[in-house]
């Protein structure tokens, strides 16, 4: 009598390695792994041979040797007696400064342009479209080079700013004049901007490997405090609204809380600006900002802002019209609708590509080499590499650092994405 039979078990055959779904993926993976390991072994072998042939060894000791070159823009103290490691830090800081400032300015400009593109005004939206298309279709390097050339060749020389007695008598104007109420002078050597000085400053504190500027940290602390108090104000306003339905007017309180303490602190510390003045053939006082920095910052800002504008525009347009119609039908005014309904949803769509643009901007700072801006790639991957001849170590270290920055930014983006995901079934 035929009973329910077990599923027949095949005996193992070699061709099962390829055809049987149980073994197939293992086979492929093992083959891939073996090939990969072979390739890596071959590369390493070549590298060792080549290094031996040139008489070099692979170590990072050169980082602690004396650098021996000067760097114009430095945020922390550095001389040509400092180590290569310090030069690396300077380069990294220079990269980060341009990246952070660029991201901030590009975001502000990009949001403005994106919103203007969406405005009902035909003329303005067409002008913004021209701007966006121009910057998206032309290489960034061109804008960097053009900005630098304009700043360094077209701007006047310092002595053009001079006003002599004969000129005053004859009623002539100098060939060039300062901007922003005579505080900023753009010359072909650099941009002279005022620097901040404190009469009654708090001084500095040395904590071993670096010195802390107490003025700077005090201002930062007060600003943080102001923001914290402002949030309390907004929170209590919301509580009042929830209890009684009327939302108290808070804008003047916010402005007071955000600005008054900082201004008071600055006055107490005797804050004043040291304005650059023409003495002899050059400007004295103030800070001289190199054209390489300014050109790089301007080009990066304008370029990235075009992309951010498109992202903002697409994000707002992605929210279906039905959302604003439902809000209008309920009686909400347009600006409330934007704040409560459209923007929260649009931000979800906008922020991931926005963070990608920040990443792109950070990587694009490496183009500063075109104008001799000494960022990470200029110091570690440039002068240090050339001087010590340690190409392999420098390049690997540099790529590692860039990779870490990118991975950190990506991690931030992933965290943000997870936290604001719309819940679905």
């Amino acid at each position: 009598m035929a009973m329910a039979t077990d599923v027949p078990k095949d005996s193992f055959r070699l061709s099962m390695l390829i055809y049987d779904t149980r073994y197939r993926s293992y086979t492929i993976q093992i083959v891939v792994l073996v090939l990969f390991a072979l390739a890596v072994a071959w590369l390493l072998n070549n590298t060792v041979q080549n290094l031996a042939a040139r008489g070099k060894e692979f170590n990072f000791g050169f980082l602690w040797q004396r650098a021996g070159y000067d760097i114009g823009q430095q945020l922390i103290p550095y001389t040509n007696d400092s180590t290569h490691f310090r030069a690396l830090l300077i380069g990294l800081l220079n990269t980060l400064v341009v990246a952070v400032l660029g991201c901030v300015f590009a975001t502000i400009l990009g949001v403005i342009i994106g919103v203007l593109r969406l405005s009902g005004n035909w003329l303005v939206s067409r002008l913004m479209t021209v701007y966006v298309e121009m910057f998206r279709n032309v290489p960034l390097l061109l804008w960097i080079l053009l900005s630098y050339v304009i700043l360094s060749e077209v701007t006047p020389q310092p002595r053009d700013f001079r006003v002599t007695d004969e000129m005053i008598a004859a009623g002539e104007e100098p060939a060039a004049s300062m901007m922003f109420f005579d505080t900023v002078a753009v010359t072909n050597r650099g941009t002279n901007i005022p620097s901040a000085l404190f009469e009654r400053g708090l001084g500095t504190v040395d904590i071993g490997f670096m010195t802390l500027n107490l003025d700077f940290w005090a201002i930062l602390a007060v600003i943080a405090g102001s923001i914290f108090v402002n949030r309390r104000i907004l929170r209590s306003a919301r509580a009042t609204q929830e209890a009684t339905g009327i939302r108290p007017v808070t804008w003047w309180k916010s402005i007071l809380v955000l600005f008054a303490p900082v201004i008071a602190l600055l006055v107490a510390m005797g804050f004043h600006l040291e304005i650059p003045e023409l003495k002899g053939f050059n400007f004295q006082g103030g800070i001289l900002v190199a054209h390489s920095f300014t050109a790089l910052l301007i080009a990066l800002t304008l370029y990235t802002a075009a992309f951010i504008a498109e992202i903002v525009r697409a994000g707002i347009q992605a929210i279906s019209r039905g959302q604003s119609e439902a809000a209008f039908a309920l009686g909400l005014r347009p600006n409330r609708t934007m704040n409560l309904i459209i923007l929260p949803q649009a931000l979800r769509v906008i922020i991931p590509p926005l963070i990608s643009q920040y990443l792109n901007l950070t990587k694009n700072t490496s183009l500063g080499i075109a104008v001799s801006y000494l960022d990470l790639r200029g110091t570690l991957g440039g002068i240090t590499l050339n001087q010590t001849g340690r190409e392999l170590e420098c390049m690997l270290l540099m790529m590692l650092i860039y990779l870490s920055i990118s991975l950190m930014i990506s991690a931030v983006m992933n965290m943000y994405n997870k936290s604001v995901q719309l819940k679905a079934r």
């Binding site: 390829i18 055809y19 993926s25 492929i28 993976q29 891939v32 792994l33 990969f36 590369l43 070549n46 590298t47 041979q49 080549n50 290094l51 042939a53 203007l116 405005s119 009902g120 005004n121 035909w122 003329l123 303005v124 002008l127 298309e133 121009m134 998206r136 279709n137 032309v138 290489p139 960034l140 390097l141 061109l142 080079l145 053009l146 050339v149 304009i150 060749e153 990587k363 694009n364 490496s366 183009l367 080499i369 075109a370 790639r377 991957g381 190409e391 392999l392 390049m395 540099m398 790529m399 860039y402 990779l403 920055i405 990118s406 991975l407 990506s410």
Partner: protein
């Protein structure tokens, strides 16, 4: 109910109303201006600002354009001419520099007698692209090929191409036009041999080199077809690749030498360091674009894969490439590759750069295509499985066409980015049109100090190419969207 209104009682309309035109205040130019430019106080302010900005730009730029000088020997001479015609304070564009040096911007240091070769290659590029861009549309194909023919007739005449080259090129395109009328699909064969043809045209040398190299692909295909019924698709593909590699490494060069000694046919060789300008940018760009797409697809599929090792390797590769700036990769190409390859190998720098640019673009494309693959509904994969299609057939016939269609805007935008990034090869010593050639021109005493004109010239050409690509992508999106109502 007490009152009855005329509008509440039962009602039947006997004659339908015809459409009437809208009232006068609701149409015309005045209304348009009122609505678009002056509707709210904010709008009025914006319009005024816009007009002011336009005026400011025009006031400074227009005189500069109108005073253009086309004939001069140097920058200072330009300035003299402008001062003579428009006054001492006027500024004028000095296009004379472009007139004198345009060939450097376009070709770099390529020997002028051989200009007909890159010119032909560029024209034939569009002929090779035609069946891909406008597949199956006879009318568009014929128009594009006709334009190529007209372009070749004009430029080859101007470049004084040797007679047989002129004749061959014209004959080729005429033949393609004829073929387009009867069997447009066969035009793809030209697209397949175009890479080898262009390589030979641009770098020169014996005609047997590209032919024997292409034969390697024939070997690959032959082994694949022969072996796949015996050991399955993927192993047969692997065997084919091994056979082709063996051909290229060991059999290729001796065969070329043999054939060359038997029947010497070739054109003058041009070294890589003579390439420059837009010739260089287009070579790197087109090669990068064509090869990065298949590699990007493979990487995207690898990343989607269930197999842990394949997925990890793909993710690692993609994240590494996307995490570092392109400049560092280019420096790797120029400085480090000599460490990683066996002692004594020496690669052409352009080839190294192309390889790295291709991998760079492939990593970005992989992310873009992954987005497209994720947007595809799960049901498509399941339907393909249910029909009994194996993995590669399902991908080729069902999954990838849809995923690629979804990602078209992002793919073209990656291509545009790739083309713009070709300017970065200036940092490894190649003569790109932006920094490389401009530096050379500005180093000349005659043209020292010129800046707007070369940048505007190069920028305008980049703009045309990139804008053209983005317009084409919009056209493609529209064309493919009509399938999905």
């Amino acid at each position: 109910m007490s009152e009855t209104h005329a509008q509440t009682v039962n009602f039947v309309r006997d004659t339908m109303l015809p459409p009437a035109p809208p009232p006068v205040s609701e149409r015309g130019a005045v209304k348009w201006m009122r609505e678009n430019l002056f509707s709210t106080p904010l709008n009025i302010a914006l319009t005024l600002l816009g007009v002011l900005a336009l005026y400011a730009i025009a006031a400074s730029a227009l005189p500069w354009w109108l005073n253009s000088v086309w004939n001069a020997e140097s920058l200072s001479q330009c300035r003299e001419i402008v001062a003579a015609s428009a006054g001492p304070d006027a500024t004028g564009a000095c296009w004379a520099m472009i007139r004198e040096r345009w060939h450097q911007f376009l070709f770099g240091f390529y020997p002028p007698a051989e200009y007909w070769r890159p010119v032909t290659a560029f024209g034939l590029l569009f002929a090779a692209l035609a069946p891909v861009l406008y597949s199956g549309q006879k009318r568009n194909l014929t128009i594009l090929l006709g334009c190529v023919l007209a372009y070749l007739l004009l430029t080859l005449y101007l470049a004084s191409a040797p007679g047989f080259a002129f004749g061959l090129a014209v004959l080729l395109v005429v033949g393609m036009i004829a073929l387009a009328q009867v069997q447009p699909g066969k035009l793809l064969w030209f697209t397949l041999i175009y890479p080898a043809l262009t390589f030979w045209l641009l770098w020169g040398g014996s005609i047997w080199s590209p032919i024997v190299a292409m034969a390697g692909f024939a070997v690959l295909y032959g082994v694949f077809r022969f072996a796949s019924p015996l050991i399955g698709l993927a192993p047969a593909a692997g065997a084919g690749v091994v056979a082709a590699v063996l051909w290229w490494l060991y059999i290729d060069i001796p065969v070329v030498n043999l054939l060359q000694s038997a029947l010497p046919l070739g054109i003058q060789a041009v070294a890589s360091d003579q390439f420059g300008g837009f010739l260089l940018a287009i070579v790197i760009g087109v090669t990068g674009i064509s090869f990065s797409l298949p590699i990007g697809i493979l990487l995207a599929l690898g990343r989607q894969s269930d197999m842990l090792i394949v997925k990890t390797l793909s993710v690692g590769f993609i994240e590494f490439i996307r995490g570092v700036p392109l400049i560092t990769l280019l420096f790797t190409a120029s400085l480090l590759l000599q460490y990683f390859l066996p002692p004594g190998t020496n690669f052409d720098i352009i080839l190294r750069v192309i390889i790295l640019v291709t991998f760079f673009a492939a990593a970005y494309l992989a992310e873009v295509i992954r987005g497209g693959l994720a947007a595809l509904p799960r049901g498509q994969y399941e339907a393909a499985d249910a029909l009994g299609l194996d993995y590669w057939r399902a991908q080729r016939l069902i999954i990838l066409p849809q995923a690629l269609k979804i990602s078209i805007p992002a793919i073209v935008s990656t291509f545009i980015g790739l083309f713009k990034d070709t300017t970065l090869v200036a940092f490894v010593g190649l003569m790109d049109p932006l920094k490389g050639v401009t530096q050379i021109v500005r180093a000349d005493i005659d043209w020292k100090g010129i800046y707007w004109e070369p940048y505007i010239f190069v920028g305008a050409i980049f703009f045309l190419i990139c804008f053209g690509m983005s317009r084409y992508s919009m056209y493609l999106e529209q064309k493919l969207k009509t399938d999905h109502r």
